[in-house]
Symmetry: C2
Subunit: 742 residues, 2 copies
Amino acid sequence: MSNRSKIIYTFTDEAPALATYSLLPIVKAFAASADIDVETRDISLAGRILAGFADQLGADQQIEDDLAKLAVLATSPEANIIKLPNISASVPQLRGAIAELQAQGFNIPDFPEDPQSEQEKEARARYNKVLGSAVNPVLREGNSDRRAPAAVKAYARKHPHSMGKWSMASQSHADYMRDGDFFSSEQSFTMDQAGDVRIEFVGQDGKVELKKVVSLQAGEVFDGMRMSCQKLRDFFEQTLQDCKETGVMWSLHVKATMMKISHPIVFGHAVSVYYKKAFEKHAKLFDELGVNPNNGLNSVYEKIKVLPASLQEEILHDLHECYSDRPEMAMVDSVKGITNLHIPSDVIVDASMPAMIRSSGQMWGKDGKLKDTKAVMPESTYARIYQEMINFCKTNGAFDPTTMGSVPNVGLMAQKAEEYGSHDKTFELETDGTMRVVLADGTVKIEHAVEAGDIWRACQTKDAPIRDWVKLAVTRARASNTPAVFWLDPERAHDRQLMLKVETYLKDHDTDGLELHIMDYNQAIRFSMERMIRGLDTISVTGNVLRDYLTDLFPIMELGTSAKMLSIVPLMAGGGMYETGAGGSAPKHVQQLVEENHLRWDSLGEFLALAVSLEETGIKTQNDKAKILGTTLDIATGKLLDNGKSPSRRTGELDNRGSHFYLAMYWAQALAAQTENAELAAHFAPLAKALTEQEATIVAELNEVQGKPVDIAGYYRSNKELTSQVMRPSATLNAAIDPLIG
Amino acid sequence: MSNRSKIIYTFTDEAPALATYSLLPIVKAFAASADIDVETRDISLAGRILAGFADQLGADQQIEDDLAKLAVLATSPEANIIKLPNISASVPQLRGAIAELQAQGFNIPDFPEDPQSEQEKEARARYNKVLGSAVNPVLREGNSDRRAPAAVKAYARKHPHSMGKWSMASQSHADYMRDGDFFSSEQSFTMDQAGDVRIEFVGQDGKVELKKVVSLQAGEVFDGMRMSCQKLRDFFEQTLQDCKETGVMWSLHVKATMMKISHPIVFGHAVSVYYKKAFEKHAKLFDELGVNPNNGLNSVYEKIKVLPASLQEEILHDLHECYSDRPEMAMVDSVKGITNLHIPSDVIVDASMPAMIRSSGQMWGKDGKLKDTKAVMPESTYARIYQEMINFCKTNGAFDPTTMGSVPNVGLMAQKAEEYGSHDKTFELETDGTMRVVLADGTVKIEHAVEAGDIWRACQTKDAPIRDWVKLAVTRARASNTPAVFWLDPERAHDRQLMLKVETYLKDHDTDGLELHIMDYNQAIRFSMERMIRGLDTISVTGNVLRDYLTDLFPIMELGTSAKMLSIVPLMAGGGMYETGAGGSAPKHVQQLVEENHLRWDSLGEFLALAVSLEETGIKTQNDKAKILGTTLDIATGKLLDNGKSPSRRTGELDNRGSHFYLAMYWAQALAAQTENAELAAHFAPLAKALTEQEATIVAELNEVQGKPVDIAGYYRSNKELTSQVMRPSATLNAAIDPLIG
């Protein structure tokens, strides 16, 4: 055990980055005891910008392209990466970062909105690489393993979150299209050998328009599916009529963020059907103004601002008149009068449905009261699991966090598997005709008659990720001695292709003694729930979308949040990436720090990820100390949760830094107390003693600095020294930690 | 093929017996062509009485004990019995029959209400054998095979019965005890060897009271279970509160007929909880009057009639006052103000729940309107299947008779298997203590702590019927090439014993290529329903109670009635019994015949049973003609249904006799048209021709007699000649049929 191992700790943005200034020295101090180096890689927005323009900066300003290096590392077996949340930059955020960096003396170009010159085009191309979700697709060279860590589960059992009581007479339900949606039209095939496929539109005149060429690998699964615009609109109308008759509130749930292309269109139809009378009356005017219902009712309000006041008033009146014909709509913010249809990204199905189910199946009405609701989710493929859970809660009552089992997830995700709608293979059709997918030799593999307004989309899933996903499922089933269920529906074309592969690839593994099932989604969720209420765990092995949905749905029932889940990406090349909790980078947290010197960010996700990272290091390098560091860190996290040492939101109380101190103290105590490795116990005994004895002093030092503004000289790229000073204000704590850093 | 075979056609009571006078000559005429004799056995109430007193009657009056002979026949391989519905005599019915027979000159004793002399005691013992359900237990020497005949299914698909639309927002549901009911306390064991068990009550003073000794066979399964009185009452109170809060109507569903001992008690608690205030206020008085809530609110009204008018008024007022605190209750007859709690046998779960599910999950309120309902069914063992179906209908809408598949049943029933509550092993406990089941050697196999008021019951199931049931399931799965599901719940003690046996006995059979499952009730009904809405059939292989429930539930969805199902009892000894449709013997039908000479009885059940009886005869005796008689009879029945030649309820239109004519005509036509057996075709061609040509004449002859009273000289034992003349009024038809009778 002379070779030193390495853990890569990503340096990201905003609150998680600030927290890193406080936590990382502690992590380094502990890791050093097991000969582990902890290094950072800068994948912050600022860092990625500067790396992109390194050739234009002074020698002292240049930084390396850490993301590119991480991408390479992710495909090598020794990767051990702790991935914190980073900014998926919108254009305004990008502009802000550029301005800040320029002010700091970095000679980078402005963001060219409408690039003309070669130089501008080059700059724009470089900036494009930084925009949006630029990190995850590069690093996610593996599938997803998400589960509730033991410490978190134990905490939830002892300190259950609130769960709204369910009535057997609840009228709430999830409604979905029975015909004409993607599910009912899905076609799928697997490539025998690598090759290109052409996505074509054939007009009624027979003219063929090439929409896109996609290069596929051998064994890759390719799907095409169509949503009928007419049937979608009929469906919305029928759900509205139904709510009007039954008095149940109406609510739309889509995923306009992940299904970036298709779901905003679906959302737009909901808007123009709900407000049909106003949209029909002002059709011509709305057209001229460029009103796009896909952007929500809010955008209509914005667009009409250019009109004379009287005309604005008339339109507003007509929009409001619609409410008298229509059922009550669920509110995002009843105080501000913001409905479900104001902003497309406000009601995201994977978060909104668990919230509804936790609240007795109810959502907020315009009077600020919770009411039974029809949750309208056009895509039957996924909507049915929510209806199944609603029926289950009606029958069995709300889930009980103190006794319920867990549903961890093994999700197909690697190499952009099953990425629907968030890419360039989704089309809204302008005229009637035929969409088809054609092989190089002219064979038509997929064909749909389409009508103007229909949405057609394709989806690809490479073979290697599927193979790896099956392996991961077997590995997790074995490791946790838990039944695993592949959620695959034999009535879905795509899933039939996957079932063939799953059945084949399962043969590559020793599945002796494992309980493995293949079930359709209804059966799978029911089976999991029946076990769950009996305190039993069941691994859900799912495709990418269900991964996304289930890793909110079950954690929110079990733990009250999905942010406390372990999110591990066992990389296909053999390494591991450990994602820390979701929840964004929280700009408000930074603001509170700068104004009041209090950071409410909870590093729980980092603690959990680090424990797994250490454990994996221990296993892969046969480093027993690393394993013990991992298990004791989990004990420390459990203690921290139990003792209520998570950060408070209120200035003057324990914050992020204070929680790090307690983590260090409990961790040192656990290490000193363990008997597996005497050397490690002896090594940490003095630290445990020092921190324990000086607890009051350290907490006082950490808390007394709060309440005053601080200067960290930057938002996107703060000054390292200033930030470090702010984030490490306890001389006593620093004196105990720093000598241990290798 | 020289040996003649024999079909036994039971002669029973009331309408089915009247119909027999018309149908049997036709049956005999057709059967003779395949060398089959059709003989009757008299198992009518009058016949059974006379047989019981044969030793006291004159030589010319004596009749043989046909039931005893049938019981012997049922245990021999050549049995082929067509069993029509007979009277399960109550005491008033028995008294009526005795009086009629005495008037006809039979020297039989009066019914001794309170027998004193030896002679009276002897007479009472003989009459006891005739009382109640005296026929089925004697003849049912086999398990149950119930399915929708092809002709009936085809008819339902073409002429679907009405199905109420389901709303996803329906508030209806089935509610049941989550704790303290029979399910949660069930204990079960299997006897290693034959022996007696003692059912004992141990008082708190340690005193042992022997409740009953039961002799068990080797391999017999014995169960004990307890329903907590307190938890039952708490449950009722909670369901009432819940309905009060949610505004959903309240309805009680029990099976006070089949579960003769336990369910009236359960029903009684519902009455005394719903009307708690009145029952508490008048507790002493009710006690003195002998008011028993188990007999329903109606019996309270009866009992208080002895009181002074003012006191009666006060009690009625107090009972009615209860309605103001309590939720609305489902009505049996809203016009007459008869609620769900008036008469214990009015709302029988196996009939009432399918009716509710067919009516959009709604029942009738006191304003005569259909309303969403909480169906209260304390026994969770069975109630959950209804909740599962309700959730299913909320999600998928009402079942569609034009496309839905079928769920035939193979039910465990032979030798009184799993007869709950309708016997002498159910006890309502008077004091706290312990109920236990003890082997001869003193081993305590079952033990329950009980409280005063608790209901404790035992249940026995012999091994041979289980073995036969498994065999029948395999046989049916093979014969119909249909998946079969054993409904067995691993969380139920009794079912765990059965699962062991099923797994063992399945090995005795060739199950290659069969799809056989063991599922708990929820899984089983869900699996069956998912298949059903896709047009697929699934055999339900169930215990006795589920047999009883499911053979109403699914047929009522599929066919609109359970009366049209085939009900076959493949006898364990190798013979067959073919039960014709349920539905009682219909006294009103007899009245209409006597007053208006119109018999509305539908012999469809007889047609269907006869076809299977003929087919089985054909198979067992390698008689091809018999097989063809069976298949052509099915064709004729299908044609009769299609052409609307079933009996009308209205005097002057086609009645039972007319439907028999059409059956004969279609049957003869089908036989003449078939090409499998030329001899048979030739034999029936003249009859087909004659009936076809004389259709108008015959129908006129059959209809023109209607509208006037007729005399058949008896209700329980009518005059044979007179009845035959009444039931065969068409000289033309008789002339065509009679020469063919062998």
